[in-house]
Every structure is written in C-alpha cells, then in structure tokens.
C-alpha cells in the first residue's frame, strides 16, 4: 500500500503539479519565470560554484535520461567492462563536481550578506532538497555497484510503466531504502519545480542559435507599400 502511494501516486501527483502549476505560473506571472541571478552581487565564489555544479548535474541528468529513453543502446554501451568502468568513474567525478559546486553555492548564500538578502524560504528548501538528492545519488553510485546496469532493469521499467499508464511499483519496491529515497527525491524535485526558481530550466534560450541578432517590433509592418503580415 505504501509502495503504491510512494511509487505510483506520488510520481503522478508530482508530474501533474509540475505541468499544471508550471503552466499556470507561466501564464499568470511570467515576470517571475526565471532564476534570480546573484552574479551581480557576488561573482568570485559563484564561478567556482555555479560552473561545476551546472555542468556536472546536466551531464548526469542527461545520462539518466539517455538510459531511460534508449535502454537498448545504453545496455550495449555498458556491455564491455572497460566502457562500464569509464562511464561509472566519469559519473562519479561529475557528481563530485556537482557536490563541490553545490556546497560552495550553499556556503556562499549563507555567508555573503548581499546574496543572503535575495534568498527566499523556498530557495532554502529547494537548495536542501537538491543537495540531499545529489548526495544520495553519489552514495548510491558509490556503494551499490553498478548503477548504470541495474538502473536499466529496475528504475527504467518502473518509469516506463508509469509513462505508459500501467504503473508497476514492484520493479522498485524491493530495492534498498537509500535507492528508493533517491528515486522519491527525483519526483520531489519535479513537484517542487513550478514553485521554485528551477523554472529557469525550461527557459533555456535555445532559439538564440538561429534568431537574427537584431529584433525590431512594429505595430503594423508596412514595407514598400505592402502591409507585411506577421
């Protein structure tokens, strides 16, 4: 019963919250739909915190996603032992990068008066959750070898069962407590996403790659006597 609540109901609630509240916030208060950069107030520690954290966490997240989306490809990738070792060591290194970065950011936020002033309660809650989640992930990777393999046979089918609306909690219900906690943490972050500054994740300005440098906006564009429809 408790498994059903935690590994079936909770993930659905989290995703629905993320989508519904995320959309609601986007359409009612777009002004707040970003992170709140504090680089203007402090930028030395930020460099050593923000850069390793972001790049570390992004690559690790990408690996989680790739294994989920292309399990076949992933299993042949880790098929050779050497590749598995390289992958796991790289993952651990990246996680360490993210942890060190995150810790620095945490300390910076506590210690720097200026940055402290632009930190809200929800920021603190989210920071703690995120730090805990990364530490848990690191713990799992370190003590439950080889995560990149058993992830394919436990979490991936569970997540696919959730995605296909035929939820099956038994894939994960027998896993060690600490692993389960990491999985729940992931969905807790998804649930928190629309309420925090994490919304900046979905505002990544990919269009900058192709948009023209100059932006000109007309009330009603007329060129060479012909009205240009937008």
């Amino acid at each position: 019963m408790i498994d059903l609540a935690l590994f079936v109901a909770f993930p659905y609630v989290a995703v629905i919250l993320a989508i519904v509240v995320g959309l609601y916030r986007y359409y009612t208060d777009r002004f707040s739909y970003s992170s709140l950069s504090s680089q203007f107030l402090e930028n030395r520690t930020l460099f050593w915190g923000s850069v390793p954290f972001h790049y570390g966490i992004l690559v690790i997240l990408l690996a989680h996603l790739l294994a989920l989306l292309f399990p076949g490809l992933w299993s042949s990738l880790i098929g050779a032992q050497a590749r598995l070792y390289v992958l796991e060591v790289t993952g651990l290194a990246l996680a360490l990068m993210a942890i060190v970065g995150m810790a620095l950011l945490f300390i910076r936020r506590l210690n720097n008066q200026r940055v402290l002033m632009v930190t809200s309660t929800i920021d603190w809650i989210f920071l703690v959750v995120l730090l805990a989640q990364i530490l848990l992930g690191f713990w799992v990777a370190l003590f439950f070898r080889w995560g990149s393999d058993w992830y394919l046979h436990t979490a991936v089918p569970w997540l696919i069962s959730l995605a296909t609306l035929s939820p099956q909690a038994q894939y994960v219900s027998v896993l060690p407590f600490i692993v389960k906690l990491h999985m729940l943490g992931g969905f807790l972050i998804i649930a928190l996403f629309p309420f925090t500054r994490l919304v900046h994740f979905v505002t990544f300005p990919i269009t900058y790659f192709w948009r023209p440098y100059q932006v000109v906006i007309w009330n009603r564009r007329v060129r060479a006597g012909v009205e240009v429809k937008k």
Partner: protein, 502 residues
C-alpha cells in the same frame, strides 16, 4: 532602400554645466525602486575620468559592442554558442562594486539616540543588506576631477596620448575638464539586443526606441556586457535587466523625455532622423578611418523626393516626415556636421550625438592681463589656429568622438571657432571683417550657416530644441482597440508591481 524613422538626440557639451538635474529627474521618475537604487539611466561624467560604471569604455574589461572580424561583424563578447555556454557565469559582467553599493543613512538615530556627550550621527546603511557600511564609491565619485590621480589618470581615452600631453592634463595650473552626460543611445545596431539570449530586447520599428520586455527577460545578463556604453542595468531584486526607455510615455503625449525637459543648460536637442536600414550592417562594418562619415551617410535627407517616397512606401506618415525636416538633430549631425557619435568604434551606430566642447586654450597672465598664448599685436587672429594650443589634446577628443580621427574632430572645431569669431565680429566688434572671413574660410562655412548655428545653439526656443515627432499611438492601438474608446481609458489598465511573486 528601407527608410525608417529614429528619434535621435544631440547633446551640446559646451553648454553642459554638470548640475546633474537630468540625472535626478530621471531617477525620481524611473529608478527610485528597490533593486534600481544604483542605476542611473541618465548620468553625467567628468572627463577625463573613468566614468560610471568604472572604466566602462575599456572593452578589454567588459567586452561590449562589436568587432570587425575579417569581413564579418561579431559581438566582442561571444558568439551564439559562447553565449549559451556561459549562461551559468558571465565572465565579463560588471558587479555592483563596479557601480557602487547604494546606501542611505540611519536618520532615526538623529532623533532617537539617548542623551549623551556626543552629537548623534546618522551612519550610512547599505540599501542592499541593510547593514552598516563604509562608502567606497558613489554615482559621481570622480565628479569635477575628485580623486583625479586615481580616476582621471586611468581614463582609457588617454591611451593614445604622448607623455607630454598626459603631463599637461595632470598639471594643476592647466587642469581642464568637461562634462559628458550619457543616456541610452538607442543604437541602430544595438549590442544589447544582439547579446540577449532570450530575445527580450527589441527596437521599436516606428520610432527606434530600444526597449526591454520585462516579462521575457530571463536574467541571463548578457545585455549588460553586450552594451559597450553599459546602459543596461541588472535589477538585483527582481532579476531583470532594465534600461532607459527614452521616456516613451512622455514622448507619446508630446513631451520631451524628463532629462531633456529638465536640462538647466538647455544642452539637449531631440528630433527624428530618417535612415536607410538596408545599410546598417555596411555602416557598422566600415573601416575606422571612415566610421564617422559612414554613420553620417546612413542618415537620409528628408527633403530628397526619393527618400520621401521610400519613406511613405514604408508606412512613415507625412507628419513624421515633416517632423524630420525641422529636426534640430538633422541640422547638427548631417547638415552642419557639428555633432559626433560617442565612441563610434564600438560599431553600434549610436543615435545620440555630441557637439564637442570648445577646447580651452593655453593662456598666460601678462601685465595683469589674461592673454591667450600668441594673441596680442595681431588681435584675436591666432584663435583661428588655436587648436594646436588647446589644453585638451585633439587626440583625446578624437578618441572619444571619432574613433581616433583627429581630422574629423578638428573640422568640427574649426567650424565652431568660425561661429565664435564671426559672431564676435558682429557683436563685440573687436574682430575685423577680414579676420572673421578668414575664420569662415578655415571653418569651411558661410555667414548664413554660422548665424543659423548660433541661433540654434544660443537662443533656441523649447519647440526648436525638442521636435517631438507624432508618435501616432492611435495607429498603434487601433488593431485591438477603437482609438476613441482608448482615449477615455488610457492609463487605467491593470498594472502589477515589478516584484517576484513566486
């Protein structure tokens, strides 16, 4: 030919008295809010000096504007890939300490301090942290050359000067400075617009005002580095960039912007220019030797029938064209060629032009009389060639207003000197007609032109200084709202305070 209209500006530096009234009127209207305390959309700097934010002209430090890379124009800051990969940390962002930490004073202490032997004092408190602080910089920290061994000595425009010229600038007896008021230049090729990853900054097609959509800004901070003039600012409280909006709500109701309106020295002129948007890229990519000429050439003659028909075809109204014909900016920039762009080598094609200040000449006190060096027996004639004896080296002015081309600045000065001498001939009458005519020759101008320049410089009316073009809001809103309905409702829309509510 793609003719567009641009609300443009001229600041006549000879008339600026450095009173900062413009800065204050702007501050009171737009930046008197949390997070904007340190912002001065309009600021007045003392030159030589390092300005605000400190050393803003040093593009090796802040990487603003554009650079010519082969036959391509690129942002000095970074390419598209570079922009997206440095979102987490912008290595060239000025921080609050490059401006100054805003503060107030603990005024309560003056009234509430317990009785004691000492006078109560109001200690400074940071407006960011609310804690006591030591004031280390302010918005005009080097005003009137205050702290000049630190600030004026490090002016980036002095880089090209000889040691002798530098020594001359620093010498107390010959010390010299002038003021440089600055607002957003509302450029034709703005660096801030190009640098914004979110595409939140745009130029209004109808009048060229550059604005920043607060709802679309995502705090990536690239515009602040991308603008070589450092005229976009980061609101640390809301996480949004903000910039000068050229008081467009005032323009739309027929008034000049607040900084223009309040200018005590009446140094500011505003009017519309017609330009050819097809030539923006070519103009911005011109070689340094012809940058100023190219920027003048992109401005089109509003009397030319071809230009007028192209403008009409682009939807520019006859009223706007009529306004362009009486624009004081057109006269100063294009017709008389007296006003120059600030740092054209940043290649953003700024639409705020400056008439450089007259250079004070070296003088000596002889027999109790204050004499211009070289003047005397020959009357004031040596003034005609006084440029060589200027206390502020031409090269310094050329570094500011002409991408280093001394001849461009010298031509402006020769004309300004002709205006002075010719008018002195007419009014004070101690300059002979021959001398006055010689000055006109050297300045390559005519008596009529000189009179017109004098008229618009010294005794223009309010309406001559500010030719606010018809902004045609009725046309702008008619697609969504009947103009007659709008007329009765304007100003009653729903507004939200600029705060993060999530």
């Amino acid at each position: 030919m793609d003719i567009r209209a641009q609300v443009s500006m001229v600041f006549h530096l000879d008339k600026c008295i450095g009173c900062h009234t413009c800065s204050i009127s702007c501050k009171n209207i737009w930046t008197d809010r949390k997070g904007t305390e340190f912002m001065w959309w309009n600021n007045v700097e003392t030159k030589p000096g390092t300005g605000y934010p400190t050393l803003w002209e040093d593009q090796e430090k802040y990487k603003g504007g554009w650079v010519q890379d082969g036959d391509r124009l690129r942002l000095k800051l970074q390419g598209r890939f570079g922009a997206l990969s440095s979102l987490f940390f912008n290595p060239y962002l000025p921080t609050v300490d490059d401006y100054y930490e805003p503060w107030t004073y603990q005024y309560d202490e003056l009234f509430n301090a317990p009785e004691g032997d000492d006078q109560p004092t109001a200690r400074p408190i940071s407006m960011i942290t609310g804690k006591y602080m030591d004031i280390e910089a302010g918005p005009n920290w080097d005003d009137d050359l205050g702290g000049s061994p630190v600030y004026a000595a490090n002016d980036p425009n002095k880089d090209g000067l000889t040691d002798e010229e530098r020594a001359q600038l620093n010498e107390v007896q010959r010390v010299v400075f002038f003021y440089l008021p600055r607002i957003c230049n509302h450029c034709l090729n703005p660096g801030c617009v190009a640098a914004c990853p979110a595409g939140a900054i745009y130029k209004r097609g109808e009048d060229g005002v550059v604005l920043l959509k607060q709802d679309q800004c995502r705090a990536w901070r690239m515009c602040i580095s991308g603008c070589p003039y450092k005229k976009t600012y980061y609101n640390w409280s809301t996480g949004k960039a903000e910039k000068c909006i050229l008081c467009y709500p005032r323009l739309e109701s027929g008034q000049p912007p607040a900084c223009f309106h309040s200018c005590v020295g009446r140094i500011r002129y505003l009017g519309v220019l017609l330009y050819d948007a097809d030539r923006i890229l070519d103009t911005a990519s011109s070689s340094e030797a012809v940058l100023v000429e190219a920027q003048r050439a992109i401005i089109q003659d509003p009397f030319d029938p071809q230009v007028v028909s192209a403008a009409r075809a682009n939807g520019i109204s006859d009223a706007m064209i009529a306004s362009a014909r009486i624009s004081p900016v057109y006269k100063f920039v294009k017709q008389w060629m007296l006003a120059l762009p600030l740092h054209p080598e940043f290649r953003t094609i700024p639409m705020l032009y400056y008439v450089p200040p007259m250079l004070p000449v070296l003088a000596a006190v002889k027999n109790g009389l204050y004499n211009v060096v070289g003047a005397g027996e020959n009357g004031l004639a040596p003034l005609i060639s006084s440029l060589e004896k200027a206390r502020l080296p031409l090269r310094y002015m050329a570094s500011l207003f002409a991408a280093g081309n001394e001849e461009t600045v010298a031509a402006v000065y020769r004309k300004l000197i002709a205006v002075r001498l010719y008018m002195r001939h007419l009014t004070v009458k101690d300059v002979s007609l021959a001398e006055a005519n010689q000055a006109l020759n050297v300045g390559q101008t005519t008596a009529e032109e000189v009179q017109a320049i004098f008229r618009l410089t010294a005794t223009p009316t309010f309406e001559e200084r500010f030719v606010v073009p018809p902004m045609e809001r009725e046309v702008a809103i008619e697609q969504t709202l009947d103009p007659f309905t709008h007329k009765t409702q304007a100003g009653f829309g729903f507004r939200q305070a600029p705060e993060r509510r999530w």
